[in-house]
């Protein structure tokens, strides 16, 4: 250990502008996410083919399977965050989450045609994803200079998104090599996920709790009690409120497809447009948030979403509309996803980071789920045009309220 520490100490001054650099730990975590996203996206890409053609499930059953376990993540995220704090073992809990998802890929090979078994495997996969998110984000905040957290998250999310890009390509390569064997895709996905776990175990340094926080077990009451801290409560409440009026991705793509009369060939490519912009802008917008304030950039991202929605209703049509909407949607992601974590992280005591971040994320994810249901109802009741207009209006109202009340003026 002595050698490793001294080497690390020697390494640091070499990279000029120490303050500006993103730490090795963040890059290592980014690498873990990149690799893991390749693994999970390759499965996501082939799953409909596998279930419908390989196993002969009807589309209806596939839809039910797909939707069944989305709710799992929310609760599990809280559990993961809390336990990571309680045991002061961020890396170990994150590792469990990544490991569980990796094993899920083997589970898919073993599940065969049983709908119940496949459902269980998908639930395990989502559980793994839920468990690992908060401890990992806590580790990023604890491995970075608080003044440059926006950029640290930018780097992490850009690497993560890059992995998501590669996933379907790797899946195609495997299908080509194996002459269409889904098992091969699952096995390769497992191997890649295992690489992610190995990188995490070997290269990521766990947070060493300071002497003050030593071995003091965080109780459930304390995690919940974080909400009593005024600035943190505000960020939770406002993030959740904004979540409640945020139109989900699939809706946006669907509206775009209707407006654009897009050939179905291109439909699955729309998320790639968003991801591409997100990938390019995650770091610049993260840096901007470090300079001008994270909450401002976070709100700005939501403004981009309002403009994206309005552009869908506007007079511009065709390809121009698609590019405009997707760029704005990408800006929304780059300005909100990591930036929210960067804003919330420094407000939380070190030994309660994971639980606190889990609270913010869960609040936001839960209200977004409600938003989808509400928008679905509005669409059915009033038609698409009106529903989008109402969604954009509601979002604008909440943004304006947040801007006037300036919930975070004292901090961040």
């Amino acid at each position: 250990m002595y050698i490793a520490t001294s080497r690390a100490a020697v390494d640091v001054p070499k990279s000029s502008g120490v303050k500006r650099a993103v730490t090795g730990n963040v890059v290592a975590l980014g690498l873990v996410s990149l690799v893991t996203d390749i693994s999970s996206e390759m499965v996501t890409a082939v799953l409909p083919l596998y279930l419908v053609l390989g196993l002969g499930l009807s589309p209806l059953q596939f839809g039910v399977l797909d939707g069944l376990y989305s709710g799992v993540t929310a609760l599990v995220r809280l559990v993961g965050g809390h336990l990571a704090d309680r045991w002061q073992r961020l890396k170990a809990v994150a590792c469990f989450g990544y490991g569980l998802s990796a094993l899920g890929k083997i589970g898919l090979m073993l599940a065969g045609p049983s709908t119940v078994a496949i459902g269980a495997v998908l639930a395990a996969d989502r559980t793994g994803k839920g468990v690992r998110t908060a401890p990992r984000d806590a580790l990023i905040t604890l491995s970075s200079d608080p003044d440059h957290l926006g950029r640290a998250f930018g780097v992490h999310r850009a690497m993560d998104t890059f992995g998501a890009f590669l996933g379907p390509l790797v899946a195609m390569a495997v299908l080509w090599l194996s002459l269409g064997s889904y098992d091969s895709v699952f096995f390769t996905s497992f191997c890649i996920a295992a690489i992610g776990v190995i990188i995490l175990v070997v290269l990521v340094k766990d947070h060493q709790p300071g002497p003050r926080a030593e071995r003091r077990k965080v109780s459930l009451r304390e995690t919940a009690g974080l909400i009593r801290q005024a600035s943190f409560r505000r960020i939770c409440v406002w993030a959740a409120l904004l979540g409640l009026v945020t139109l989900s991705d699939s809706f946006l793509y669907l509206v775009l497809q209707r407006r654009w009369e897009l050939g179905a060939v291109f439909f699955p490519l729309l998320p790639l447009g968003t991801a591409g912009v997100y990938l390019l802008l995650a770091v610049p917008l993260g840096r901007l948030s470090d300079r001008v304030g994270r909450w401002k950039v976070f709100l700005g991202g939501h403004v981009a979403l309002v403009v994206a929605l309005l552009s869908l209703l506007g007079p511009v049509d065709g390809g121009v509309l698609a590019v405009l909407a997707l760029v704005l949607h990408g800006v929304f992601y780059a300005a909100t996803d990591g930036v929210l974590m960067a804003a919330a992280g420094p407000m939380l005591p070190e030994h309660q980071r994971a639980g606190g971040l889990a609270l913010v994320q869960t609040g936001q994810a839960t209200t977004r789920m409600f938003a989808s249901v509400l928008f679905g109802l509005a669409w059915t009741a009033w038609d698409l045009h009106a529903a989008v207009l109402v969604a954009a209006g509601a979002l604008a109202v909440v943004i304006v309220a947040a801007a006037i009340l300036r919930p975070l003026r004292t901090s961040a």
């Binding site: 059953q61 039910v64 194996s178 091969s184 990188i199 038609d383």
Partner: protein
């Protein structure tokens, strides 16, 4: 640190080698012996009478290929042609083969129209995964359903596109969803309308399909030339018209249980009388009429047949097969 990085690199090399090795192993797995008795590389005519055509799904080199057995001796070794499909149908000397393009993501389907000797007449490329395919009684129209994922907004939703190709005129209708439809006496419009499982009546003017909207399914009766339809009944999926054009075999949703939601039933169009068939297991297939008294369907990896009047019992015609069609 250096040692650790070397360790990681070594692990990466081993794992990637394992993945590639498994891929190559899977590639060779199809090259072994056929799991059932098969006579490979046979010329097949879809017009020949007295045969049962189907897709061979027995493991081995002939997996996925079109196969045939005598209709009265379905236990005989299957004769297998070269044609490989995911869904197959044939009628009156026209065959339809739906094949997912190998290794393409997002999925693409080749809709291949063939003549009686399986010579390709037309190939249409469509986005999506093959779901259903049928040929009209006179062999002049082919129609299909593909399943498109990532196209639906609700978590429990899905999206299907049903299309028609007219061999005589060359007209291609990629989706029938623009059709006007009357529900409960009023013109119905909803953004979530999906159609699947088209079936044409003799004469090629009238057809039936399932319309799904707001969590319900309806049987619609449509006029092909006017391109308009009327919903005539609820809870009917994957309709299949009998050769005499008087009855419809379909999937009826009888249970909310995800493991066993459907039963096969037959609807008499004139009287509106519905009869559950003797098959008690949940069937998820568009039934195929072998003659006016028997329907066949895929279940548990094999092809089964059951009398169309609710009597008798289900019997297995062929093991490891799907997409049955009477020759």
């Amino acid at each position: 640190m250096r040692g650790r990085i070397l360790g990681v690199v070594a692990a990466v090399v081993v794992l990637i080698a394992a993945a590639v090795g498994y891929g190559i192993y899977s590639r060779d797995r199809g090259q072994g012996v056929n799991a059932v008795a098969v006579v490979s590389g046979q010329p097949v005519s879809v017009q020949a009478k007295g045969q049962l055509l189907f897709r061979n799904t027995a493991e081995g080199p002939d997996f996925g290929r079109l196969a045939t057995v005598p209709a009265d001796r379905t236990g005989e070794p299957r004769k297998v042609a070269g044609l490989s499909c995911d869904r197959f149908a044939a009628s009156a000397g026209t065959a339809l083969c739906l094949a997912a393009q190998p290794g393409v993501l997002p999925p693409m389907t080749d809709v291949i129209v063939l003549d009686k000797d399986l010579t390709e007449i037309r190939r249409i490329e469509l986005p999506g995964t093959p779901s259903r395919g049928r040929v009209s009684p006179d062999g002049k129209l082919v129609y299909w359903t593909v399943f498109v994922s990532g196209d639906s907004y609700a978590a429990t939703g899905f999206s299907t596109r049903a299309g028609i190709f007219d061999l005589a005129s060359g007209q291609l209708l990629k989706s029938i969803e623009e059709m006007t439809v009357i529900l409960d006496g009023k013109q119905y419009y909803s953004s979530d309308v999906n159609y699947w499982g088209i079936t044409f009546a003799p004469g090629g003017k009238r057809f039936y399909a399932t319309m799904g909207t707001k969590g319900k399914t309806y049987l619609v009766e449509a006029d092909y030339e006017k391109f308009s339809a009327t919903a005539i009944r609820e809870n009917v999926e994957c309709p299949s018209l009998s050769p005499d054009g008087k009855r419809i075999a379909f999937k009826k949703r009888v249970s909310a249980d995800l493991a066993a939601p459907w039963r096969l039933a037959v609807l008499d169009l004139a009287s509106g009388k519905e009869t559950l068939l003797a098959e008690t297991r949940s069937v998820d297939d568009q039934a195929a009429w072998l003659d006016d008294t028997t329907v066949a369907y895929g279940l548990e990896g094999g092809i089964w047949a059951v009398p169309a009047d609710g009597s008798g019992a289900a019997r297995e015609l062929v093991q490891r097969g799907s997409s049955p069609a009477a020759g």
